[in-house]
């Protein structure tokens, strides 16, 4: 096995290996690659939006294309970039942090990735076929979405349905993994904060995504099969979409932010060489944020007219979330206080995050005030707010995590100089782009408008915003160069480059495919640090060296996802001609057949023999 692994293999074998892999570390690579690809795509769309808005009454792109651009930018960034990048990090790090050899459902893990990837590709096919991309906004409010001509919104519905199913599987997989596969001694209250965040985020995924699933089904049935959920003439009610969408989409923003809270907690503790301040409070703040996150969806609907009682309740619930979030901010500051802080790229992103995210949180409190929201609603103030939390929070967090765990994931350390340059360009560009948008919004500039008029006080602000966007783009390009440079001739990473505290730093970089030769014994919070303090520097094993059970690779997840995607195309185009129903039957047939094979064929995996492990040690 080890000999075969070190042999040079052709590109075909390499591709086949990744398509069939069920190893969580390789699935993490796939997620990072897929999410990174869509991040660049969504970034390109953002640049086109900013070029269009650089000057008044610009006609860089047409109004219709502009609507497609904003819709695809939002949809791509949320569903196809931020979420998969986070799922990739969770896959790469969480099993190592809890001392597991793999995840609970390696097959499902692979299926989750391929469903996401195929769903994303399906969605983006709308650019080339069916008369344009979706153009009803990422929120796809009915009746705008039910009336939108062409197939754009159909692609939105099917693409998100397929990728959403994948995300749901990822969530269930992580939940079961953390419940059943923690190493001996790894109690819940000894888990690193990133693993905790993965756990709570998975709970959010589990309870939030089905609401989107239902909303998408209703929209699909209305658009493709003549049902009347949102058809007011037949008694339908368009507000149902808004409720279902936001019951999903508010928890979704916490799905995006809680994992990076975990990232920052681990980074702050490690790079300050201090135990995390207020560990227990951090855990309960995470749980509280997740819980409250389900009670606030109607703050997106203050102007719908739900009435003063409903608006007040949702306003107060929303403001309450500031309390656990504030606890976190202060705990990070207190962790750094008096610590011996290493200022590297990962730490820079962390330091940049705290003030940026706090500004986003403050505008969040402003927006939570229902009466004031009548002024802010659908203006650039809202755009500024959510970019401060999603870019200043999630994107900063992903960048911090990439710089921090890159050595563990890929075995090489990212170039520090380029890392710092990326941070400064992106950080300055980010604030240039979005800070000024608060004021554009307060001056009345509505979001999603194709053009604005000259001499209304909006010209300078928009130009500044566009310049900032270009700075961010340059930062991203330098990061890409850094990735290629590191891949080609970066420094080989030691097992523990940052003097780490948690289990992932106790094994080599990158880890062997079975992760831990012997399951580790966890003797306290920050288990590796505990051992270092006792002068051992390595983890005590919980078992003697023995055979290791491993799951088999499989092509079936790829085939199942392919089947559903083919069916997706069929559903979209059967509206034009019933012959396309063949695609529906063929696609679902392929998927069901693959699932049946999976069910009927026993898959016991294989064992790595003890002797082989001993040989590898030499």
């Amino acid at each position: 096995m080890s000999i075969a692994a070190t042999q040079k293999r052709g590109f075909g074998a390499f591709l086949w290996d990744y398509i069939t892999t069920v190893d969580h570390k390789k699935i993490a690579h796939l997620y990072l690659f897929g999410g990174g690809f869509f991040f660049l795509l969504g970034g390109l769309e953002a640049m086109i939006i900013r070029i269009q808005l650089a000057t008044p009454e610009n006609d860089f792109i047409s109004a219709g294309l502009y609507n497609e651009m904003i819709t695809m930018h939002g949809t791509t960034m949320i569903f196809l970039a931020a979420m998969p990048l986070l799922l990739g990090l969770m896959n790469a790090v969480m099993p190592l942090q809890i001392g597991a050899r793999d995840v609970a459902f390696p097959f499902l893990n692979s299926l989750g990735f391929w469903l996401f990837m195929f769903g994303g590709i399906l969605l983006n096919f709308s650019w080339f076929m069916g008369g344009g991309a979706p153009d009803a906004g990422w929120t796809a409010y009915a009746p705008l979405s039910t009336q939108s001509p062409g197939h754009g919104v159909d692609f939105y519905v099917l693409g998100l349905q397929i990728s959403g199913a994948g995300t749901l599987m990822g969530g269930i997989n992580f939940l079961a993994t953390i419940v059943t596969m923690r190493a001996p001694g790894m109690t819940y209250m000894r888990m690193p904060l990133f693993s905790w965040a993965t756990f709570i985020t998975s709970v959010l995924i589990l309870f939030a995504f089905p609401a989107l699933t239902v909303g998408l089904f209703l929209l699909m049935f209305d658009r493709m099969f003549g049902s009347a959920f949102f058809d007011v003439a037949l008694g339908g009610n368009t507000i149902i979409w808004q409720h279902l969408f936001w019951i999903f989409a508010h928890p979704e923003v916490y799905i995006l932010i809680l994992p990076v809270f975990g990232v920052f907690s681990d980074i702050t503790a490690t790079l300050s060489k201090k135990r995390l301040f207020g560990y227990t409070a951090m855990v309960f703040a995470t749980i509280l944020i997740a819980f409250l996150g389900f009670m606030v969806w109607a703050h997106h609907m203050f102007t719908v007219g739900l009435g003063p009682v409903a608006n007040s309740i949702f306003a107060i619930a929303t403001m309450a979330i500031a309390v656990p979030t504030g606890i976190k901010i202060f705990n990070w500051l207190a962790t750094m206080w008096g610590g011996s802080i290493t200022i590297n790229s990962a730490m820079l992103w962390t330091l940049g995050f705290i003030p940026s995210f706090t500004i986003g949180g403050m505008t969040g409190i402003m927006l939570a005030s229902a009466v004031a929201d009548y002024q802010y609603h659908d203006t650039y103030f809202v755009v500024a707010h959510f970019h401060y939390v999603i870019v200043g929070g999630t994107v900063f967090g992903i960048m911090a995590a990439l710089h921090f765990w890159w050595p563990k994931m890929f075995g090489r350390i990212l170039h520090e100089g380029m890392g710092k340059l990326t941070f400064w360009l992106f950080f300055v560009g980010f604030h240039l782009t979005f800070f000024v948008q608060h004021f554009l919004g307060l001056m009345g500039m509505p979001r999603r408008y194709w053009v604005f008029l000259e001499d209304q006080g909006l010209d300078t602000g928009n130009m500044v915003s566009t310049i900032g966007a270009f700075l961010m783009a340059v930062g991203v390009v330098i990061f890409l160069i850094n990735v290629f440079y590191t891949w080609a001739k970066g420094n080989k990473a030691p097992a523990d480059p940052w003097d780490g505290r948690s289990l992932e730093w106790a094994i080599s970089s990158p880890p062997p495919y079975y992760n831990f030769k012997q399951t580790p014994l966890v003797r306290g919070l920050d288990p590796l640090w505990v051992e270092k303090m006792e002068g051992k520097g390595e983890i005590t094993p919980a078992e003697p060296l023995g055979d290791i059970h491993m799951p088999n690779s499989s092509i079936l997840p790829f085939l199942i996802s392919l089947g559903f995607t083919i069916a997706g195309f069929g559903f979209i185009f059967q509206v034009d001609h019933s012959a396309y129903l063949i695609l529906v039957f063929a696609g679902i047939g392929l998927a069901l057949l693959s699932m049946l094979i999976r069910s009927l064929k026993d898959d016991h995996g294989y064992h790595i023999k003890k002797e082989e492990l001993e040989r590898e040690a030499d």
Partner: protein
């Protein structure tokens, strides 16, 4: 791995479904899945409750629903939950034959339920012209009840596949969790139906 004796004990452990790590994973995984399913059906119920009086001049619930047929369907499905409990009882006693027998009865009851549901739907469509496209009420009704029916169908197919696949080789610790997770799923379907019976049919009679 038929040669692996650890999967083929003489007597079943106390909880065969949780005796292996794979079994525990399946057990917890299915419970989490049912948590998601709960939100799925809650969303369908919410939609239905919002639209149940939006008949747009078409047939209303008071015109359509009779309780006789639906009561029979409820009894059949509840009984099938009970028979699946018997099957699990025999699984824990390592009595494969009796487990298969009770599972077969479960499948038969599930199929009877489906047959009655199909009859019910055709009755509404042919005798009342009440379809998926008639009104928002129609869309919501067929979607909610239809998704439940789809879950029953999937459950029966799942059960059949399990029974046929394992007919020759009997029970072991590899397939015991598979049977057990099916029974969990089947109970869940049953609970959802109890809510449908209450919210759709009983409340529908009152209007």
């Amino acid at each position: 791995m038929s040669h692996d004796h650890s999967l083929n004990p003489e007597t079943m452990p106390q909880e065969p479904e949780k005796a292996t790590l794979e079994g525990r994973n399946k057990f917890y995984g299915l419970w989490f899945f049912l948590g998601g399913e709960t939100v799925l059906f809650a969303s369908f119920f919410g939609t239905y409750i919002a639209l149940r009086n939006s008949t747009a001049g078409g047939p209303a619930s008071t015109d359509l629903f009779g309780l006789g047929l639906v009561f029979a369907m409820t009894m059949i499905l509840l009984t099938s939950s009970l028979t699946s409990v018997y099957a699990m009882y025999h699984m824990k006693n390592n009595d494969f034959k009796k487990m298969q027998l009770w599972l077969a009865i479960t499948a038969f009851l599930g199929l009877s339920f489906l047959a009655l549901e199909i009859y019910e739907f055709t009755h509404y469509i042919i005798d009342y012209g009440f379809t998926f496209r008639s009104s928002a009420f129609g869309s919501a009704f067929y979607t909610l009840v239809g998704f439940h029916g789809g879950h029953v169908t999937f459950g029966i197919a799942w059960l059949m596949a399990l029974m046929v696949r394992n007919a020759k080789r009997g029970l072991n610790l590899y397939n015991a969790p598979k049977f057990y997770t099916f029974s969990l799923y089947w109970h869940f379907i049953d609970v959802v139906w109890v809510f449908i019976f209450t919210v759709v049919y009983l409340m529908g009679r009152v209007g």
